[in-house]
Point group: C2
């Protein structure tokens, strides 16, 4: 019987990456003057302009979702993913997206894939009211092979103090509200590929009854865009906000909390998309590893004052749990 | 006898890339509201904040200079190149760099190359007074091979109206002032590799008498950082500014001019680094192709009022030519 599949066995060493990120953070901190404000570093950097405005900036790619796009020959969704991964990361610091830039590199600038990525990015930018301000298309024969490409995105937003979480953070009794994900988004694809393609032997073009569509269609479903529902959420004290990406629901939930508080999520309160059960069974992947890698159906989390929760629910947010005293972390137990 | 080597024959199709960029520009323009200001698109995008500040943003990589860094196993200079390629692009719109973000992607996050890139970037950021505000290190097994990596950078600056070129552009009789390059910078490396490695059969670790050092040392010399001399240049009307990158001295010079004006540069006024003669002879590469690909020793150009030119010269700028009525373009004839 084969061992459980983990993110690390799929080729991604999260702990080594964390050590490297800590080292890099030290190098970056040495360049920071008083204009740089501390913030939840996982999401966006914060820079105070001389005139007083506070800018937020993010940088992100779409990871190995690109490999699936390449095998399926479909790139338009990738541009949307790229915008989503970046503008969604602006929201936890209360920033409204202003502009976005993209980097697209390939061995040969095949017009169709590159134009598809940019067209998808432009459509997503329009949808969230953000300007596609520029970018770079780099042709690098010898670095990328035929059909290979990589993409990276950068977004800048303006912080709205009214939308910024309370620096004091979550309190016991705060409610956890969430927005559904549109599927796997652009995180954990290496583990998903290892489980579904390598271990279960599925093909990307294969119709999967549990999904009701081809595997490629499911895995390439673009990441949801959250600026609308987050920026238009009802007023009320916000303890913390999180875009559920690397580290999954468990990792991102934990990062929202101070020591001594625990987030209890009730899995009965939302629908877990069937792709996650498929991955879990195909690996097999443990429940803990699933929660530490994937969004499990919740793409964005907000910890809000109990008094504000009913209005948030009325605006389409799902009430999925509560913050209680306990060991810092996330329980999927209600 | 072999044909002359061109950038296109080295694997880079500049015209196809230009067509693609035009298509992408149309997609991007559809996302632009009144906040986006027109500007010299080759360099930086311009965005007006609600409070009135004008931001400039750039996105660039270092191209196939990475392949040379990989073969030589030396990455620290690449971080400096990445910062330079971006912050130098802010200067032609009169913007002072505020912050920079980097994207580093690899098949496996080998700590040393990634940390070397970031250390080089951090040192360059400190030197130009710019914060390294964040970034992304992406581990993508299956997309990048062992030892492969790619980098992209993104810089945001604040436009200083006093340093912004006159929107009316250059006038006949304006002087062309320049800053020396530190070598090949990060442009035209595909052509340089094709000429020097493939055609002339040189090795990267080979000592080249004309260069007085190993070929890798010359090709990996980091791009000069121009924020200091450009932002501290003496007052006076500026007709246009250019960072000499893709398109070379001829292409970037031409882009500074309106129809009916020609830039006459006197090659006797500056020292052309010997690397360019080596490439020209090894290809062989025509003089026109050399000028349309490389900086030829001038990394930054300013077209300034004749009355201001002596003060610029006193500040270390080289007086290299003049703008005169004629066919739009650049002559290397004095």
């Amino acid at each position: 019987m084969s061992e459980d599949l983990t993110y690390r066995r799929s080729g991604v060493d999260v702990e080594a990456a964390d050590r490297l990120v800590a080292r890099i953070s030290g190098l970056a901190a040495a360049t920071h003057g008083p204009e740089v404000e501390p913030g939840p570093a996982a999401f966006a950097g914060l820079y105070r302009l001389p005139g007083g405005d506070l800018l937020a900036a993010t940088c992100d790619g779409v990871g190995t979702k690109l490999l699936i796009a390449r095998e399926a020959g479909r790139f338009e969704g990738i541009g949307r993913d790229l915008v989503a991964m970046n503008v969604n990361d602006l929201l936890p610091v209360g920033a409204r997206p202003l502009f976005f830039l993209d980097y697209v590199a390939a061995g040969a600038l095949e017009a169709e894939p590159v134009a598809a990525v940019v067209a998808g990015a432009a459509a997503a930018c329009r949808e969230v009211g953000c300007a596609l301000l520029g970018g770079e298309t780099a042709e690098m024969p010898g670095l990328y092979g035929p059909g290979d490409l990589d993409v990276a995105g950068f977004a800048v937003g303006l912080v709205d103090q009214q939308r910024r979480p309370d620096p004091a953070g979550p309190r016991p009794g705060d409610r956890v509200m969430a927005l559904p994900s549109s599927g796997i988004h652009a995180n954990g694809l290496s583990l998903a590929r290892a489980a579904l393609l390598d271990r279960a032997g599925l093909r990307l073009d294969e119709h999967v009854p549990e999904l009701g569509r081809a595997l490629a269609d499911e895995l390439l479903e673009p990441t949801a865009l959250y600026p609308g529902p987050v920026l238009e959420a009802p007023p009320g004290r916000i303890g913390a906000l999180a875009h559920v990406t690397g580290g999954g629901l468990a990792g991102r939930g934990r990062a929202m909390l101070p020591e001594g508080l625990r987030m209890h999520l009730d899995p009965g309160r939302w629908t877990r998309p069937p792709i996650f059960g498929l991955i879990e069974g195909a690996g097999p992947v443990s429940g803990a590893e699933m929660a530490a890698t994937f969004n499990l159906g919740l793409g964005f989390l907000a910890v809000v004052d109990p008094a504000a929760a009913p209005a948030w629910e009325g605006s389409g947010w799902l009430p999925v749990g509560e913050v209680r005293p306990g060991e810092r972390g996330v329980s999927l137990d209600g």
